[in-house]
Symmetry: C2
Subunit: 188 residues, 2 copies
Amino acid sequence: MVTTNSREAILAAATRIAQAHGYDGMNFRDLAADVGIKAASIYHHFPSKAELGAAVAKRYWEDSAAALEKISNESSDPLEALRRYPETFRWALQNDNRICLCSFMAAEFDDLPDPVKREVLIFADVNVAWLDKLISAAKLAPPGESERRARAIFAAVSGAQLMARSRADVSLYDALIDVYRTTGLLPA
Amino acid sequence: MVTTNSREAILAAATRIAQAHGYDGMNFRDLAADVGIKAASIYHHFPSKAELGAAVAKRYWEDSAAALEKISNESSDPLEALRRYPETFRWALQNDNRICLCSFMAAEFDDLPDPVKREVLIFADVNVAWLDKLISAAKLAPPGESERRARAIFAAVSGAQLMARSRADVSLYDALIDVYRTTGLLPA
DNA sequence: GGCTATCTAACGATCGTTAGGTTGATTGGA
DNA sequence: TCCAATCAACCTAACGATCGTTAGATAGCC
């Protein structure tokens, strides 16, 4: 049976755990129990925790890139796409109060194995590149300043997610995003 | 001799470690080695890791509150004080690429002992209260919206610090703050 | 008979924590 | 004044839990 792919199940469970407890909090025994196997069996699919962590982070930014692409395709114009950007960070909060995997790992960053570090940085790059492209298209920022603006939006939205999580309050996230809009950081 | 107060030395070293590796990464053996004593000796000054962590976080927001008070007192008007706010988060970045203790702990939040959680939340409250007061005084936001604005500034600045840290680049922090200013989130 | 996917069992490291001992300064009473 | 008791501050040594990881066995499938 190909439908019950253990590798995929491990990846999915590991992502959920990492979003709630970080790379450090992602231990093989609990992870395996989540999947319904034993810890040692994970090594049949991933050679080490570092490689699993890198695979998780890689899959995470790939999925994020796809979600962003979906938003741009669904939107009639770049401004509408930009307005929908905060959605991508809102989802995790609403589901078990999790946060962006890479906000977590940005905190743990110095203690992360190198392969994981690489993928975490790519996540930020993917977000900034998408924002940059749409900010340019929407002429939201002066020419040559769209990348700076993109980075600021990414940082601010990450911070909002982090703050809302520590209060376990999605509506706080919405309120913060709302202020970003009224002050002009995000399009209204 | 009262000058070499071990309790204070432990508190200072623990703060530095927590800012670099989080609550989880703050282990008694390394911490004790930093201070120049053995791990067991820490228990003479703090009853448990949870209590030490709470003491660290408490001292941290107390110091932050004092630093903010100093800024308001030194500033000729509330707008100038608000302009200086990002300084308080910049300092840690420039010294060993550390981040705000409480950004770190906001990520780890769910796995924190309750006494630590309490102090971490107070840190955010202290910052928001200070910002709220000065935003009102400076009439930066419409009446009744200064607290919302205060929270947004706190979240955005935290996010900027987190992002700059993962690139180990203080100038990225400066650039992000600069965008917050030109877009109007922070006073220009 | 190999191959895939899983298991049990254990290793060594690290962690928070505890028990109990040592030292040196302080202090109160004869 | 001197001695005994006290106490703070530190130590060594270890316990038990948890962790990533490995060796080796087992069961089903092609």
